[in-house]
């Protein structure tokens, strides 16, 4: 069965530190990939997505993610985090011909001011 793994459950960083959150998926076919973010008290919202083309995807608020097909990975990165990046981050995958999106278990990011 298709699955999405986020190995880091809780990450704590200081402001200005660099961030990388891991995401691995199990499906070997063509996939579409997403990162969603849930800020405290707010709705889940899309951070960035990959459908095709350049495997390095730029998102909002300085986030980017790189799709590495050979590693089945779609890690999220930000060179310098801010306190306002404190949130829960979810990786998600959908097969291009499917309707059901599969979410990872989420990574809680805490930024020390």
């Amino acid at each position: 069965a298709q699955s999405v793994s986020q190995h880091n459950h809780h990450v704590i960083l200081s402001e200005a530190a660099s961030l990388e959150l891991g995401c691995n998926y199990s499906y070997g076919g063509t996939v579409n990939l997403f990162w969603y973010v849930q800020y405290p008290g707010q709705h889940l919202q899309l951070l960035l997505k990959y459908f095709s083309g350049d495997p390095l995807v730029k998102g909002i608020k300085g986030f980017e993610a790189e799709f590495i097909k050979s590693k089945f990975s779609f890690n999220l990165r930000k060179p310098s985090v801010q306190w306002s990046d404190t949130a829960e981050y979810f990786c998600a995958v959908i097969r291009s011909s499917a309707s059901k999106i599969i979410f990872g278990s989420g990574t809680r990011l805490s930024i020390r001011p």
């Binding site: 986020q6 709705h43 889940l44 309707s99 059901k100 599969i102 990872g104």
Partner: protein, 116 residues
């Protein structure tokens, strides 16, 4: 409305009671999804509606769970004979399309269900 709305925002019920959770998707969105978010469990897919097609119910955890979507718009998720393990945040999302021409999902604020 401007976004996906859900009601109630919080629901506390006693074990064994039935509950109904409502979702109003963004106007014009043909696809509607229900998810369950439990602490440390991520987002669990429950059910998916797309236009007039038969819904994908493959994520419903038991026959106590059911959902309908009337007129291609509002959806109701019903949980019968609630159990304590049903306690979670139930999220609804809608998108313009689905499948190969996948569109961004827009999420509602969720309904926090607590079963005592």
């Amino acid at each position: 409305g401007a976004g996906v709305s859900q009601s109630p925002s919080n629901k506390v019920t006693e074990k064994g009671k039935d509950v109904e959770l409502r979702c109003d998707p963004i106007s014009g969105h043909t696809a509607l999804y229900w998810y369950r978010q439990s602490l440390g469990q991520g987002l669990e897919f429950l059910i998916y509606f797309q236009g007039n097609s038969a819904p994908d119910k493959s994520g419903l955890p038991s026959d106590r769970f059911s959902a309908e979507r009337t007129g291609g718009s509002v959806s109701t998720l019903t949980i019968q004979r609630t159990q304590q393990e049903d306690s979670a945040v139930y999220l609804c999302a809608s998108s313009l399309l689905a499948g190969e021409h996948y569109n961004e999902q827009f999420f509602g604020p969720g309904t926090r269900l607590t079963v005592l």
